[in-house]
Amino acid sequence: MPIEFKTPGAIQQVVSMAQMVAEQVMRPKAAYYDEHEHEIPWEYINMMWPIVSQSPLLGADDSRNGHGEAERKRSPITNVRLIHIVEMLSWGDAGQYLCTPGGNLGAAAIAAVGTPEQKRRFLSRFQGEKPAWGAMAMTEPQAGSDTSAIKTTAVRDGDFWVLNGEKIFCTGGRLALEESNGLVVVWATVDPKAGRAGMKPFVVEAGTPGVTVTKLEPKLGIRASDTASILLQDARIPFDHILGSPEVISDTGGEKGFKGAMKTFDATRPIVAASALGIARATIEYVKHLLNQEGITIRYGAPLHQLSAVELEVMDMEAQHRAAWLLTQKAAWMMDMGLNNNLEASMCKVKAGDAVTRITQKAVEILGPLGYSRAHPVEKWMRDAKINDIFEGTGQINRLIVARRILGYTSRELK
């Protein structure tokens, strides 16, 4: 396949469908859900469910054939297609996009480390009649970037595991546990002394006694999306809800344990980057539109001494956006090609997180009184944008990953 930049027709089709949803369902309600935090965007959800339950966006397609052959059967554009859809939905409204029903991060973890039988059992709910959500709970009050500091414990009791601990910042935790027959993949340690080797993912289903959503965080942006605290008090789950091996073995070579699950980030970081870039594109389009109304068009190629500061800013926004989007496409394309994209996934996440943060903050400045006003969407986009530099690994953590990869350092050599 030579170097090419033509979006395939099959992707253009789904993207124009996503655009319809974005324009007709998401945009008209974006400000409303921003101002009514924690209200659930059911119009969007009900619109999306028939689509995603037929053709899951992420992970869940593995449940159809439990032979572990899913990878091979995937069309070679799965990831490139997905980032295009996510980009467009986030162009509509990032908050509502994060409420997209389906397995989401939970399914991604199950798809990465579950057995074929587990995939079938846990993921089929994401093709049912009613919308259902999956979520992933790693973060705890004392453990964010440093995931190895988690304290939630899982203790074996015959045919059960007993989970105790507190998870915070779980995206979609309420949708998964309270609003649907969903599930949360909860990370806990089976041996606090064993460090990462003791950390295991467990599937916790909605309705499990001892599992409660105790708080929904009030946030700077993406307010339609719930960010839940989850309390686990002697929560008993069947023994076979552990994903991967229950053994505490150091992870060298194994793809099934902690390292294996961390691999899901290679798939999900380009998705977060794509979401960021949907917001960035919306912002650039809006700025250019308002400038056009004032008779200002961007003179590409005019010499520096003729260009206004605003023109230069807009050109820089577009250049950074484009570079980030191409990095993101490359990371997704590598996945589709079956190539290791660990480096590229972090590269695009760093670049997209930076780009969207700068672009949206600059846009508020450029538009002056209109930029700062809640009558225009730009200030909201700036608030929504910032999360992309934080979750799925902060900008710093992803820089660390890039740096380790290019320098050939272990996490001990470069802390």
Binding site: P2, V80, A319, L326, Q329, K330, W333, R399, L407
Partner: protein
């Protein structure tokens, strides 16, 4: 499709140029810079790689690459990695051949293009830049006025590479406010090659001012005949070339700084094990790759026959800033040693700053 893998042929070309850059360019570039002299043996060898000929269609004696601009970008990155001054020198004939290819009349193509597939380095050059702060390729001060069957050219040009030895000049001038180009033979009365210029970087490449005092050329010397040229289209081919060279230069600086940082010990461990150094390197890698992909995309669009001005302009602007940032950080990572001319990074910093100025000084 969306795809990021060069063809086997392109990979082969890039590998060949890479080897040439490593073995031939890197062994002489510092001396060339210090002595302000082109190592012609290396430039001739670079010419004989046949990169320009590959881009020229078979009808005009070339090889007819199907994706000439993308391939050109891949090759230019490797040349830029080797050394910017030598890369520009190797690419100078393209400043005449490619405008003829993209804008010339059929007769001009048949007359001029075949010689660019010869083994001998063609003694040609082009003059676009003018020596003034308000220089604008779309509003030149050099003028061309039609008088009967002739054009009369007047004005001053700058940054004309290898003008001292050139036998054919492609000179850009404003005709009725539009930028046009004219083929002028050496020795045309009124054409004077001025003093060699003294620049901040790329010192090995000799460039000159050019004075045009009523230089007369036949009407047939106007590139593109009656249709003339679309300067923006030609500039797009220059923009992607400069962007690709900038990526190569930046990659060279980044790789050097990375190796240095892994070996330089301070406070008991390699400086690369400190985040402030490691993060700089990570950002350098990310920015280089982002500009590389933007450059490929712009080049691909040109090969598709798209107008693509926006993509070309943005790729080049981003490349200017990126190359400067990367080269500056490379100096920073070497600390005081980076400031010393026995290390290459200070040269890369000086060269990187040039990209903002080099309109039309490279083309693919």
């Amino acid at each position: 499709m969306i795809a990021f893998s060069p063809t086997e042929e392109q990979t082969l070309i890039a590998e060949t140029v890479k080897r040439f850059a490593r073995e031939r360019m890197r062994s002489v570039f510092r001396e060339a810079e210090e002595s302000s002299e082109l190592p012609w043996e290396v430039v001739n060898k670079g010419w004989q790689l046949g990169l320009l000929s590959a881009a020229i269609p078979e009808d005009y004696g070339g090889l007819g690459d199907a994706q000439p601009t993308v391939t050109g970008a891949l090759a230019a990155e490797e040349l830029g990695w080797g050394d910017l001054a030598l890369a520009l020198a190797i690419m100078v004939p393209g400043l005449v051949a490619l405008p003829i290819l993209y804008a010339g009349t059929e007769e001009q193509k048949r007359t001029y293009l075949p010689r660019f597939s010869d083994e001998g380095y063609p003694k040609v050059t082009a003059a676009l830049i003018e020596p003034r702060f308000r220089f604008d390729p779309a509003a030149l001060e050099t003028t061309a006025v039609r008088q009967g069957n002739e054009y009369v050219l007047s004005g001053r040009k700058a940054y004309v590479p290898l003008a001292a030895g050139a036998e054919l000049f492609l000179i850009y001038a404003a005709e009725k406010g539009q930028t046009q180009a004219f083929l002028v033979e050496r020795g045309a009365p009124g054409l004077t090659v001025g003093e060699r210029e003294r620049l901040m970087g790329v010192k090995a490449l000799d460039t000159y001012e050019l004075a045009l005092d009523g230089v007369r050329v036949p009407a047939s010397a106007r590139l593109g005949g009656d249709a003339g040229i679309d300067i923006n289209r030609l500039l797009n081919h220059s923009r992607v070339a400069l962007a690709a060279l900038a990526v190569g230069l930046a990659r060279g600086a980044y790789e050097y700084a990375l190796e240095y940082a892994k070996n330089r010990v301070a406070f008991g461990e390699p400086i690369a094990q400190r985040q402030s150094i490691a993060f700089m390197l990570a950002e350098m890698a990310i920015e280089i790759e982002g500009v590389r992909l933007s450059t490929w995309e712009a080049a691909w669009r040109l090969d598709q026959g798209e107008e693509a001005t926006r993509e070309c302009v943005l790729a080049r602007q981003n490349a200017n800033a990126m190359a400067l940032m990367v080269a500056d950080r490379a100096v920073q990572i070497l600390g005081g040693h980076g400031y010393i001319r026995e290390y290459p990074v200070e040269l890369w910093l000086r060269n990187a700053r040039g990209f903002a100025t080099f309109d039309g000084l490279a083309m693919i």
